[in-house]
Subunit: 235 residues, 2 copies
Amino acid sequence: MSGRLYALGIGPGASDLLTVRAARILGSLDVLYAPAGRKGGDSLALSIVREYLGAQTEIRCTHFPMSADNDEKSAVWDEVAAALVAETEAGKQVGFITLGDAMLFSTWVFLLQRIGRPDWLEIVPGVTSFAAIAARSQMPLAMEQQSLAVVSCTAPEEEICRALANHQSLVLMKVYGRFARIKALLAEAGLLECALMMSEATLPGEQCWRQLGELADDQPLPYFSTILVNKGVRV
Amino acid sequence: MSGRLYALGIGPGASDLLTVRAARILGSLDVLYAPAGRKGGDSLALSIVREYLGAQTEIRCTHFPMSADNDEKSAVWDEVAAALVAETEAGKQVGFITLGDAMLFSTWVFLLQRIGRPDWLEIVPGVTSFAAIAARSQMPLAMEQQSLAVVSCTAPEEEICRALANHQSLVLMKVYGRFARIKALLAEAGLLECALMMSEATLPGEQCWRQLGELADDQPLPYFSTILVNKGVRV
């Protein structure tokens, strides 16, 4: 059998929110690469998929540094991309898992840039965190002629403000450590009452806040916290 | 057993790109509501989920008119929402399926607005068409500090132009019938070489065009055609 590499979006958190295709592929892998938050630390992604893995699957946890040092990050991406290629070319069924979807705010894309588009690569899309948050909070995203912007709170402030002005509906990712500033921007735009925040959607620790104006600026937040805005909704 | 209503995002097209949760729920339904493109016509959504249905499931195909007459559309939404509520309150397990994700450009949201947020409602998120297109075409969406805009080509032209100017990456939905105009806007923005178009992603009729500048303005397109733009990519 010739080797294949699968980049698998595994969805927002609950194990049954990955696709039937991803579940089937996970059961057939020789090797699984799972990103870990810290060196030697647990992998949330691995805990999501563990029930689907076959007994034969070797697991390799890979730590991607959050460092601001681009050379350090680049060296790790080079190394992991080379390992994925080598194992696939050796004839193995290789998987790389990524939270949410594989092509949106995902480390996988840095690996893809290094691997190119070989025939033996298949990317399997996944449910994004914001689709899960919209479903769990019952807050609609865009409809009909409306538009949706998905913005990282690490973006320059003027970009966030422009997106708040221009779109009916917004997803503000990576709120962690930036809540006070984002809350102020939402207040300036008159949008605090059209916004909600959710952490760890579909996981046991899921939390939802619907009155962002009443939250303290230093409200402790989990790392995976996202704000949804829909100008047509009063939460 | 008390009744429950499930709004199920069933993903972009391939039957194995719905979630494990949606597949399990589909097997337990007493009644399934499936949207149909034409009155008495086939339902693409139904064909995607058919293999997961139990023998006991009654199927009700529902036609939502594409009419510009808002009263006519509103009357259908009222009627379907009332039917969903009545069957659920009668103790049945009721499903409503929707292509892609349930909360983004989905008829389901019009029903949700009429049903409210009862305890017996569960919304199950799905893989969006654009995540599938990104995966199939291997074209990344946004990364790190970048932003993504999801825009309907039915939106006013100045909104489309503003989104093209402001975002790193874009999804242009509902290209059908508007390709010549969108191609001209992409050319004006200098983005034709950063764009690709895909139709019927993950279905047997999937097509991908990577040289949009070379396509005729009157290129025949399937109804489900979407353009992806990423300013960091040359296709």
